[in-house]
């Protein structure tokens, strides 16, 4: 192998006589070197793990992130380090490789574990309450706040000045007296 590298180096710095500097043997050596580099290069994790191409891995992660790890607390199948989650990820990959869509894969897991396996409940039927109730509560709260604030404002306007009238009158009188005495 080292001798091959030496000869390729010589060919690269040669005089341009391609037929001479790139003989059949050298081409074979070059091919072997490239093959060696490719084989020796660190393999991407998905290849090392014997899994599929990155595009498929993205889809696996996308689907797995919507599935609940059934042996964990609030972790998705994509994020869980548990053995069962790993097997579930493998099954997701297998189903996707078979040509199943995201919905079909989800439907398979739901048929086995129920809707519990979905991290987000589907937006239909009784589940709509879960999705809609926070917004309803927010709207009710905002309305309540508006009406309470409005009532406070009206009450304050009706009540007039909050300063004790007698006290205000006394202050006004004393100020007038002081101004009168300082003027004289």
């Amino acid at each position: 192998m080292w001798s091959c590298i030496g000869r390729v180096g010589a060919a690269a710095s040669g005089s341009g006589h391609r037929g001479r500097w790139w003989p059949a043997g050298s081409r074979l050596c070059l091919a072997l070197v490239i093959a060696g580099i490719v084989l020796a290069a660190p393999r991407p994790s998905w290849a090392a793990a014997g899994t599929a191409a990155p595009d498929l891995e993205d889809r696996v992660r996308e689907v797995a992130s919507e599935l609940r790890c059934v042996v964990c607390r609030n972790l998705s199948v994509a994020d869980s380090p548990s053995d069962l989650a790993k097997e579930m990820r493998n099954l997701v990959r297998e189903l996707l490789q078979q040509g199943k869509t995201r919905e079909e894969v989800q439907a398979y897991f739901v048929s086995r574990y129920g809707e519990f396996v979905l991290l987000a409940p589907p937006k239909r039927g009784f589940n709509l309450l879960v999705w809609g109730l926070p917004f309803v509560a927010l709207a009710v709260g905002a309305c309540a706040l508006y009406f309470v604030a409005k009532r406070w404002t009206v009450q304050r306007e009706q009540a007039g000045p909050s300063v004790n009238q007698a006290y205000a009158e006394r202050v006004r009188r004393e100020l007038q007296e002081r101004d009168g005495s300082s003027g004289s």
Binding site: V70, D83, L84, E87, V110, S111, R112, Y113, G114, F116
Partner: protein
């Protein structure tokens, strides 16, 4: 009492109903969608070398138990009951199948030797059978009737009374 004053206690009624419902249900219980449904088919390469499939067991009542040697104490508690039930009812046609999940073969064999298992047991490579049955822990036991439908699922160690009742229901074809 004006309607405005009645509004506050009235608004709390749905909350109380929700709480009452929540307190009366087991938060750990996950209802299986497989109940009263056809049992998913499976193939188990049992530890003694044979291969067992649900297809081959058609027409027989089956108790399918998921266990592991690392599942302590629940699997250790119910193991003697599984074996004694199998011995008691095998002549009446009952089939007991054990599926060992996420285990090492040596540990599994030691477990079977310890409890003198004579019913067929096999590993579940890739947890495919477990996932197909919606298993999320061990032990879990499925009772499959002669028509191949799951009539009952139990999570956790089986009690003798429950095992007896479910096996009787299977044998009578209820």
């Amino acid at each position: 009492m004006s309607w405005k004053k009645a509004l506050i206690p009235l608004a709390s009624v749905p909350l109380i109903i929700l709480l009452a419902y929540g307190f009366r249900t087991d938060p750990k219980a996950i209802p299986s969608p497989l109940l009263r449904q056809p049992a998913p088919g499976f193939r188990v390469a049992v530890y003694d070398g044979d291969e067992l499939s649900l297809e081959r067991l058609k027409g027989k009542p089956v108790v399918l138990n998921f266990w592991a040697s690392w599942c302590y104490p629940a699997c250790y508690e119910e193991a003697p009951l599984l074996e004694s039930t199998w011995r008691q009812y095998k002549d009446q046609g009952l089939v007991m199948v054990g599926v060992d999940i996420q285990d090492k073969e040596a540990n599994a064999r030691e477990f079977m030797r310890r409890f003198s298992f004579t019913f067929p047991n096999g590993p579940d490579p890739g947890s495919k059978i477990s996932i197909d049955y919606g298993v999320y822990g061990v032990p879990e036991t499925f009772f499959i009737d002669r028509e191949g439908r799951i009539i009952y699922k139990h999570v956790g160690a089986l009690a003798p009374e429950l095992m007896e009742a479910q096996v009787q229901a299977l044998l009578k074809g209820k």
